[in-house]
Symmetry: C2
């Protein structure tokens, strides 16, 4: 993260920089779908489940703007627009896949941690148990 010093800022962190551009709801999905090659708008729309036409347009625009995908119009009728990853876009897939692997590998650990955490608070919803200090559980400081 490069900040060996005392502070980290929002834009000091390169990761946040990426996430600010590609961390939205759909960009990663679109990039993932385009992994296997070029695809036209309507097929993209079908491949990314649940995306609306508008959001697909906007997402693609953002990706195109940052040089991650190319847009190619074939003026047939009806017009055909193909999108494909650029080299830059493909290179993004590496760190993305690393993240995906991490996620799949650690999903069980996360889920069980979450379960434990949620269970720990439900029984004693009381903010201050009569017993004593409790170094974990009720978090009144």
């Amino acid at each position: 993260m490069s900040a060996r010093h005392t502070k980290i800022t929002d834009d000091d962190c390169p990761v946040r920089e990426v996430l600010n551009r590609v961390g939205d709801k759909w960009s990663i999905l679109v990039v993932a779908v385009l992994r296997d090659g070029s695809m036209r708008f309507s097929d993209l729309r079908r491949s990314v489940d649940g995306i609306s036409q508008r959001m697909l347009t906007l997402t693609l625009r953002g990706l195109e703007r940052d040089g991650l995908v190319t847009r190619t119009v074939t003026p047939t009728t009806p017009p055909r627009v193909d999108y494909a990853l650029t080299r830059l876009g493909r290179s993004l897939l590496d760190p993305i896949m690393a993240l995906a692997e991490w996620a799949e590998k650690n999903r069980p650990a996360i889920l069980s941690a979450r379960w434990r955490f949620d269970e720990a608070d439900r029984p004693r919803a009381n903010p201050s148990p009569p017993g004593g200090k409790s170094a974990r559980g009720a978090r009144g400081a």
Copy 2:
């Protein structure tokens, strides 16, 4: 991405799963700061530039819930609360760093792509130039 098939869903994609938990504004920053070891709440607050007390609390709660950080209360006076990455949290650092490296390496390419894109639309803000088709630029389909 695992979806060789025709569709990708929001929760089919492990990456989105991670981002839904840790893709918010502060989590990554907090994890990054905790990289070098345990830190108490107030120091964390000072280290993550711009974060409010409330958001730091909420962010840490989320990370704790998912088993990425531990919370340790030392009941001195005034009370002292230390946060540290768990093994799981540290393991997340690897893919995160990969992303950071990608970001730093490709920032120039992205910025110049963006600049080019923005320049290409400013001159002819006209939605339909009288000339003709224009396979790139004005995007009326």
